[in-house]
Symmetry: C2
Amino acid sequence: MACPLGIMIANKPDTSFNDCSKKLDIARDIMDVLNGKWKMEIILALLQFEKRRFKELQKDIPGISSKILSAVLKDLEANHIVKREVIDTFPIAVEYELTDYGKSLKQVLVDFVKLGINHRKEVMGGS
Amino acid sequence: MACPLGIMIANKPDTSFNDCSKKLDIARDIMDVLNGKWKMEIILALLQFEKRRFKELQKDIPGISSKILSAVLKDLEANHIVKREVIDTFPIAVEYELTDYGKSLKQVLVDFVKLGINHRKEVMGGS
């Protein structure tokens, strides 16, 4: 049975619909990485401003609490999207920036916005 | 201020980071349409089998309850992804298939799986 997604993983052909649908778990991985209220906002702020301190990010993104900002930055760090650098000043400062992988997600955000615009057209007959 | 996403909506340029980040709400629309435990599975089954009756879909997708399948199909119908046709047999049968817009989401699923594979490589250093 050919999977309509036409993607082979580790050269293993799909033998059932179930094999094929397992690939969707991989798709969900990237959705989970970007979904949630603030992840895309933080990536966007770091695309815009490049290097940013914690307090600056909090100003960039209205409504985010420092607790949530800290948790989401840790999540993005664990996913190799953001890197954190301690600057040796007094008092110590911490700067955040995107990794190369994080920067590559710009195109993904652009694609998502385009898909969303198209979706609104399809469903509402207008943007 | 140029938005790093570089997408203008209704020819309005962004004047602040806040204008730019509002576009992410549009991106979230399409993520919400596809996210959740079963939506992508149902789209995949209809890509695979084209027309499918309710009972068939339930067999295609192990673990889905009829209550959930019915709710997710209604959601996909409301989003113009699935269409429902009543077949005039006795007893009446109901068939589901993708709309043209629904079929166009195949490429989106393929792209998501590719992004997911890439994400796993980035984070775990292997697929």
